[in-house]
């Protein structure tokens, strides 16, 4: 049986119904979480679900519908991550305005894509069960440095992934909105990177102190092809962001999917 289909049938409609806003879902989880040890129940049903299923997402088809499905899954990931971060109370006062805005944007992207896909008759992918430890023992909702590090990885991934899907959206009404989301993700990426003391842009394939397992997010960014002959390799690589394939985007997402 198709794993995704199976998960869809398993999914509790009450928790995952598209009629419930993501924010509401997260408040629900937040309430549950407060009554229990956060570490043991990092995200809603995961304690129940991840024991039974390897729920890795699969590459989406090289079509407009596939591009939208991948985009929505990545937005689920980002939206859930920031909502948890906002609820965690670890964000210092001086960064709260910025992080709250990003959290709102990611929730907006989930709503926007879900509505657009529903209107177009494109099946919504199920919300994955997330493992925020990344299998690396990360505790991003207890440690703000880790939170920012994971956030940087998600934002830089999002920028590359949208770029990689743009070709599939050519000639459809979804290309322009996808580009409009893409540039917002890049604005986020720049800010998060700068909060970490990094440049807002990516030099070479430097992962900026992220765990070695995150190198996949930056591999290929060192390209100097389009900037050849001007200044130095650092500037040439910074001047252009690079695409990632569907498979790479899925591989990165699966690090955080239980």
């Amino acid at each position: 049986m198709n794993l995704i289909k199976f998960l869809e049938s398993f999914t509790d409609d009450k928790l995952y119904t598209s009629g419930t806003s993501r924010r509401d879902s997260f408040s629900q989880f937040g309430t549950i979480g407060k009554g229990l040890a956060l570490a043991s129940v990092p995200f809603g049903l995961s304690a129940l679900a991840n024991k039974s299923f390897a729920a890795d997402i699969q590459p989406t088809p090289a079509t407009a519908a596939g591009a939208l499905q991948l985009a929505l899954t990545l937005e689920y990931l980002e939206s859930a991550f920031y909502a948890n971060g906002v609820d965690s109370g670890i964000i210092p006062a001086e960064d709260q305005a910025a992080i709250n805005l990003i959290a709102n944007h990611e929730a907006d992207h989930v709503s926007f894509l879900s509505s657009a896909m529903t209107a177009a008759g494109v099946a919504l992918p199920p919300v994955p069960t997330f493992d925020w430890s990344g299998g690396l023992g990360l505790t991003p909702f207890e440690d703000y440095e880790q939170f920012l590090a994971v956030a940087q990885g998600f934002e830089d991934t999002g920028v590359r992934a949208y770029k990689g899907q743009a070709g599939f959206l050519m000639g459809t009404p979804y290309l322009t909105p996808a580009l409009q989301i893409h540039s917002v993700e890049a604005r986020h990426a720049s800010l998060i990177r700068r909060l970490r003391g990094q440049k807002g842009w990516i030099t070479g394939s430097d992962r900026g102190g992220l765990p070695a397992e995150f190198q996949i997010i930056y591999d290929g960014e060192q390209s100097t092809t389009l900037g050849a002959g001007q200044f130095d390799a650092a500037a040439q690589s910074e001047a252009y962001d690079e695409v990632i394939s569907t498979q790479t985007a899925v591989d990165i997402a699966n690090v955080f999917i239980a």
């Binding site: 580009l179 390209s223 910074e238």
Partner: protein
């Protein structure tokens, strides 16, 4: 006779595009996506009728993919010229270290973008069809003032983001669309950094997005009219083939 000249222009453009693909290394991608884009492109390659070039005494940016690329070249010329003046100004040394770091990096990126379009368009088109170096004026900008420079930089970067976001839909060749995407996200990174530098700790870095979390996307005509109203580009040009 005139027909022949036109035909020649088109075939040169074709050859040039293939060369460009080699130049940019995109042939390596070898994906179905790219191949599909190329075959589509054969149907929509601009004809001689809308190539960039001088019409009625002014350079017209042209239509089709060459028009969009030429339009992008004009915008990158503006950005590169602006930041060249910024880092060369007498007052630059008095800017904050963070501002100097950011503006120096952006200067390099924008010159790299400009030179890319310059060499690409020259490889695609006869020189008469390549937009010449534009001239600029900055009556309202005090290049010795950090706040004046940052305010102008924010406008230019936001304009670039909206221009690429709105221009993408008019690109027929997926290889060009990818390159536009590779540039626009860097422009958005710039916009975020400049806006945050102006107002740290605020939501300004990304409060450009609407209620759906979407950044602005503007048509070439809107962008050109906005840039014209700033009075920054002093070389007259037209854009009769762009939406």
């Amino acid at each position: 006779m005139q027909q022949q000249v036109k035909k020649e222009g088109v075939s040169q453009a074709f050859t040039g595009r293939r060369n460009f693909l080699k130049l940019s290394g995109l042939t390596l991608a070898g994906t179905g996506l790219l191949l599909a884009g190329c075959s589509d492109d054969d149907d929509t390659t601009p004809t001689a009728d809308n190539l960039p070039g001088v019409r009625n005494g002014k350079f017209d940016l042209g239509g089709g993919d060459f028009g969009v690329l030429t339009y992008a070249y004009a915008l990158e010329q503006l950005e590169a010229d602006f930041y060249t003046r910024v880092v060369g100004s007498a007052g630059f040394a008095s800017f904050s270290e963070e501002a100097r770091d950011i503006l120096s990096d952006i200067h390099k990126h924008e010159v790299i973008h400009r030179e890319f379009f310059k060499s690409t368009l020259n490889s695609l088109l006869p020189s008469a069809n390549v937009l010449p170096a534009l001239e600029f004026a900055y009556a309202g900008v005090n290049f010795d003032s950090e706040s004046s420079v940052l305010a102008t930089a924010a406008v230019l970067e936001d304009t670039g983001v909206a221009a690429y976001n709105g221009g993408g839909q008019y690109i027929a060749d997926s290889a060009y669309l990818v390159i536009a995407g590779q540039i626009v996200s860097v422009e958005a990174r710039h916009a975020s950094a400049i806006r945050d530098l102006i107002n740290p700790g605020s939501t300004d870095f990304a409060n450009t997005a609407d209620a759906n979390g979407l950044d602005p996307a503007k048509n070439p005509s809107e962008i050109i009219s906005a840039v014209s109203s700033l009075g920054l580009i002093t070389t007259p040009f037209t854009a009769t083939f762009l939406p």
